[in-house]
């Protein structure tokens, strides 16, 4: 019992369960799953599907935050990756001899690899600025956040680029074994990352950089190399999310794709119990955080509260979570609850 109460995932799980309970109470059909056309349908599946891109970005963000950094350029990276993929695939419907065939500008695999490479380059740029030049992470990534959004708009010409190439839609809309394919992508990235940080020393390295970069360097870690890799991975994860998002909406919007996503991702990481001061991190917590955010959004829609309140609720959740993480706040609450003995002889 003690171990359970101390478990670092306790609060995220409790939050998620509470939210799900609220959903179930207001919407009797919430847990219902239907099997139609070989796919599972239902609110829960929908939440999983929609949370997948955010979970991907949050996974990358977790590692960056674990090294005491932050990456506020992920939204712009999402937009750039989506724009590159949409531009390279483009595509049109060609009817040849009465048979409809889909034609893309470049082969889809090339387009996807190119989009991911550009996203990884964005991350690499951030990593070099942080680790080699020594800028503060928030400023280094602010540069890409401002310029990257402009670059995405430049690529798309300020328009929404529509994709007419059906195979590409599988990423964001397809189903595998009855579940949305995007969920498998997120799960695969999570699984691979989990193995990487628990089965190799990488997880320890990242934690030690976050706890004390100087000490980590003196202990012989390639601190800078690891930091660059972490930022590159964050960019790559944002790129995958960008592909999933653009595939889901079958278009790329340079102006709005991934807008404010960096804030949601940071929120997901914080909700999952990873401290912004670096050090100990939890991948599972960040995935839970992404699920909490998406469930919250769905809850707000399903219980009939105007969606405009979403932001106020989100703000309230952030305030509560950050206060609970603060040692000073917990001490203050203890002071209010446990009154010192009268007379004051200690």
């Amino acid at each position: 019992m003690q171990r359970l109460l101390r478990h670092h995932l306790l609060w995220p799980v409790v939050t998620l369960v509470l939210l799900l309970a609220v959903n179930a109470a207001f919407n009797p059909g919430f847990w219902q799953l239907q099997w139609r056309d070989g796919h599972l349908y239902g609110s829960v599946v929908d939440i999983l599907n929609r949370a997948a891109p955010l979970a991907l970005v949050a996974l990358g963000m977790t590692l960056v935050i674990a090294t005491r950094g932050i990456d506020i350029s992920v939204g712009a990276t999402v937009a750039i990756a989506a724009a590159v993929a949409a531009l390279m695939i483009g595509g049109e419907l060609v009817v040849k001899d009465g048979v409809q065939t889909h034609v893309s500008r470049f082969p889809m695999s090339v387009a996807i690899v190119a989009a991911l490479a550009v996203a990884a380059l964005c991350g690499l740029w951030n990593g070099l600025l942080v680790a080699k030049v020594g800028m503060q992470p928030i400023i280094a990534t602010l540069i890409l956040m401002v310029a990257g959004r402009g670059a995405a708009q430049l690529l798309t010409g300020g328009q929404i680029i529509t994709v007419y190439y059906a195979p590409f839609f599988f990423l964001g809309n397809g189903f595998l074994l009855g579940l949305p394919f995007a969920v498998f992508i997120a799960a695969a990235v999570w699984g691979a990352l989990h193995l990487l940080v628990t089965r190799t020393a990488l997880g320890l390295f990242i934690q030690s950089i976050g706890i004390n970069p100087a000490a980590a360097r003196l202990a012989g870690l390639h601190e800078r190399l690891i930091t660059v890799c972490v930022y590159t991975f964050c960019g790559l994860a944002a790129g995958v999310a960008g592909l999933v998002i653009s595939s889901n909406v079958k278009s790329a919007d340079g102006n709005n794709a991934g807008m404010l996503m960096e804030l949601d991702a940071i929120l997901a990481v914080t909700l999952g119990g990873t401290l912004l001061t670096g050090g100990r991190f939890s991948l599972a917590g960040s995935v839970l955080g992404a699920l909490i955010i998406q469930t919250l959004t769905s809850t707000i829609y399903s219980i009939g509260v105007p969606p405009e309140i979403n932001m106020v609720v989100k703000a309230a959740v952030v305030f509560v979570v950050m206060l609970m993480q603060s040692a000073e706040f917990r001490a203050a609450v203890r002071g209010w609850v446990v009154r010192p003995a009268a007379g004051g002889v200690r």
Partner: protein, 319 residues
């Protein structure tokens, strides 16, 4: 003597970039070099300038304030709702929104100081909260038709007869810059802000009022945001929850370009004024050119940020 010079180098660099850009514009485009074009820089960026003054103090103290844009939106929204739907007068509405913004900033400052929370997260939550509150008032834009508001908004003060003119908002912006310079360099508050930015632990050991000053810095930033919101209301003559989206980043960019170090403790309010003017002149140049699309503004600003941050790193490592 050389040390004194080194302190001013980032500021001089900013001024030089502004003059070079202005010089380029004057040669490249006819009718660019006119007093009115330069006054328009102030008129169109008055709100950014006011927010930048508050942001300079926050960054000087080693913090950050992401809520400024949404506080502006909330201010426009509340002003519009009070004036249009509740028929308050200008003289009643403005003090109310100013107090509201100041209290909002003070609350965030208190959270940051009292519970040792990170400014980034607290002001991020503040940003969500203020935007959300806008939508609670109304989802749609509320346009302001109040006679007093439109009169003030259209008021133009000519520098001389038939000469270039300036708006109330631009004058307020210049006033705030002057106030900021005075606060930073002639008051105990300003000295404490620099000390906290240099090293909070040392400031505490020196017996400076660190706790009070930290709360005051965010309070001042909240006040500046609300005042910028008032100016923005005059500028747009409407209240809308989507006003000033992303303005916090423009403000941070202006402060950084103005030569203030993000690690805190080094910088000048006057630099922020030139940072704002540089952002404004880039937009003006792109508008004058006509063939460049608006997103080039973002790319150029990003590039400028990069160059200035690199230069800052150079200065830091030499010290």
């Amino acid at each position: 003597m050389r040390r004194v010079d080194a302190r001013f180098v980032p500021l001089l660099g900013t001024v030089a970039v502004f003059l070079l850009t202005a010089g380029y514009g004057s040669f490249a485009y006819t009718s660019f070099f006119s007093p009115q074009v330069f006054l328009n820089l102030l008129i169109d960026n008055a709100f950014l300038c006011i927010v930048g003054v508050g942001m300079t103090f926050v960054i000087l103290s080693g913090g950050i304030d992401l809520s400024v844009g949404s506080v502006i939106a909330l201010t426009t929204m509340v002003s519009a709702a009070l004036v249009e739907q509740h028929h308050w007068s200008v003289a009643q509405a403005i003090p109310v929104v100013l107090v509201m913004g100041t209290a909002f900033g003070a609350f965030m400052g208190w959270l940051i100081q009292r519970f040792r929370l990170q400014p980034f997260i607290v002001t991020l939550a503040g940003m969500f909260l203020a935007r959300g509150l806008c939508y609670l008032i109304s989802i749609d834009s509320i346009s302001i038709t109040d006679a007093a508001y439109t009169t003030i908004a259209q008021a133009r003060l000519s520098l001389w007869a038939d000469g270039p003119s300036i708006t109330v908002g631009a004058l307020l912006a210049l006033g705030m810059v002057a106030l900021g310079i005075w606060l930073a360099h002639a008051t105990e508050f300003g000295r404490t802000v620099y000390a906290i930015g240099g090293s909070e632990a040392s400031a505490l050991l020196m017996g400076l009022p660190v706790a009070r000053t930290t709360v005051l810095v965010y309070t001042f930033s909240g006040f500046c945001s609300a005042l910028a919101g008032v100016v923005f209301t005059f500028y747009m003559l409407s209240g809308y929850g989507l006003h000033a989206v992303g303005l916090e980043l423009d403000a941070i960019a202006a402060v950084v370009i103005g030569g203030t170090l993000l690690s805190g403790g080094v910088g000048y309010v006057a630099g922020t004024l030139f940072g704002v003017l540089i952002l404004g002149i880039i937009q003006t140049l792109i508008a004058f050119d006509g063939s460049l699309s608006s997103w080039w503004t973002r790319i150029v600003i990003g590039g400028l940020l990069f160059v200035f941050c690199l230069l800052q790193r150079g200065f830091e490592s030499r010290r």
